[in-house]
Symmetry: C2
Subunit: 364 residues, 2 copies
């Protein structure tokens, strides 16, 4: 009944085979010693892909957007000034989420397709509690310089969205001064959507909201079960029922990545993205993201004049089983988003994406 | 590496085979027409197991506890009086979650192991905004009379936890006057943990918080993508990336249940629970939940004097691959919880649970 798809959109991507197989493994209870071992190892593997030594590194039991919510709900005290770099949909979303947590939001707006202007963000307020930015904007295909934000953050906490960077491009949370980070499983980690890899450093945790408005995402309570509990060896405290199948799948996907080698995986994503972007330009298409700041794992390309964006996507899906993404927000019908993530960051996927797009555009 | 388990605890249970297989099906994107069809059909199937015609019936992208949070965060206005029937851990948790949402909580405390006292709850406050209760208390194995609460609720909204009842025992949300309900997938629905089946009626939706503190669980925004969107046929609005593999699994698990027939599935759970409870008493063990109010799908039994509760559970797991649960809260070491849910609500599982417990107690 279900047709196989090439998931070449902005996510989810096709999972690594190891991650899919783990979903179908015999289910374990959330307090089973074997599951706790898998969970602790998952947290360790997450530390590696985040580039962090934070004890509080864990998969939250919800999708990446809940990671964003957890980041703000645990750290924003009412009235706190939060500077948000907005250069796409997910920066915009941060302003909404932060405001619901009671923040006084200072949004630093950018043209979509441009990277974050570090100087403007750092000078937007003299003493913000938090500076927030998206490392890899899923809506525009742009990479921003998180290390520069970290170097200039002063006393502020640096809060970073790494949904479309983790496991695909260089990410060094500790070296870059990231205090709070969240991500998703369904992009370059090559795992089905459903969990939010999360990390928070000691400095941010010490300043946290003691009793956040969210019970489900309360890091103080969660830590009794996962993350720091696996490091300290303390007695586990039940909080909620962990999504054990999804965690086992993430464990397996991370295992696949670390076996290949994190830097080799980054290089594989870079090579695929470079080849895709070169091929698109050779076809006469124009890229959307600013030159020099393009993500390799997620490419944005302008829809040619006179071409029906949705009709092309429909034909790609129905004729070739290929999903690509529409643009986001104001660019819904004028930009396509093509992701080559996880197992799809390969030369054959590049060839197929280019050939199929050429085929369908030729028919249009 | 992973050993097969008999998951006879309070959940997760072993999933239905159909639900496990669906997890390993080719992954679909969250905006794929085929996925949207599966999602809409999942919402339809959820309406059947909830016993509701509510358009706003959907699987939330997180576990059952997030369902509790969604229930309160979308309906509690600051200062609202919320009467909570507390007859176990999950009623207790409701008071915490409601208070974080700004409720003035009126907790009606009961002895654990007893059902909700409908008269005391209904007379606890003259005009509550919300009356909240747990249908099947996972911590104690007790069933409460939701229909009686609904009959006497007056103008209040009735908010119900159906985590351990849905798909296992009679549940008729509309007939009983349930305005807001949440559940989990990992109990009698026989699906891995990770989603929270949720339903909300028009009356509650009209009184909702327009901009709740949670962005992730904002029902007003979610409805553009799932639930009512599938009923009205409106253009889908992206909110967050749905956990597509888990939704496909829930779809399959619900399909399995409805193929067997919902009433037949309830009868199967009842028969298994009756046989288990009779067998335990024949072994000389004493049940914990009040007679006449015992859940068939989750049985609580007192640990005999002088027996080391944890040692028995460990031996069951290591010798027989059987997981049973410890007691909850103050009963952690004096009660066991034995669940026969989903595919485990069968005569062979009853025999195995009894024989294994007898074997291990004989060795203790």
């Amino acid at each position: 009944m279900i047709r196989e798809r090439h998931l070449f959109g902005p996510g989810p991507t096709n999972p690594y085979a190891e991650a899919t197989r783990a979903l179908a493994d015999p289910l374990l209870g959330h307090l089973d010693p074997e599951f706790l071992r898998i969970m602790d190892e998952t947290c360790d593997r997450l530390r590696t892909v985040w580039g962090t030594a934070n004890a509080r590194t864990l998969p939250l039991s919800a999708t990446g957007s809940a990671g964003m919510e957890a980041a703000f709900v645990n750290t924003v005290h009412p009235g706190d000034v939060v500077v948000v770099a907005v250069n796409g949909l997910f920066g915009q979303r941060m302003t909404d989420v932060a405001a619901r947590c009671g923040a006084e939001v200072v949004a630093v707006e950018h043209d979509w397709g441009q990277p974050v202007d570090v100087d403007r963000v750092l000078s937007a307020h003299p003493s913000p509690a938090i500076i927030a930015a998206v490392h890899a904007e899923t809506s525009t295909g742009v990479r921003s310089d998180i290390a520069a934000l970290g170097a200039g953050k002063g006393d502020a906490l640096l809060l970073v969205d790494a949904v479309t960077s983790i496991g695909g491009i260089e990410l060094c949370a500790d070296d870059w001064g990231v205090d709070i980070g969240y991500a998703g499983t369904q992009k370059c980690l090559g795992v089905a959507p459903g969990l939010a890899p999360f990390t928070i450093g000691d400095r941010a945790f010490e300043r946290r909201v003691e009793k956040p408005r969210s019970w489900y995402l309360d890091l103080g309570m969660l830590g009794g079960y996962v993350g720091e509990a696996g490091v300290t060896g303390a007695q586990r405290t039940y909080h909620h029922t962990a999504p054990t199948a999804m965690v086992a799948s993430l464990h397996a996907g991370l295992g696949r990545i670390l076996e290949e080698g994190l830097e080799a995986v980054w290089a594989r994503h870079q090579a695929a993205g470079d080849a895709l972007q070169a091929g698109l330009q050779e076809m006469g298409l124009e890229l959307f993201a600013a030159d020099g700041h393009r993500l390799p794992d997620l490419t944005t390309v302008k829809v040619p004049d006179g071409v029906d964006s949705a009709a092309v996507r429909k034909e790609l899906l129905e004729r070739h089983g290929i999903e690509i993404g529409a643009g986001a927000g104001p660019y819904a019908s004028s930009v396509w988003r093509i992701g080559l993530m996880g197992p799809n960051a390969r030369p054959d996927a590049v060839l197929l994406a280019l050939a199929a797009l050429e085929d369908v555009l030729g028919r249009a």
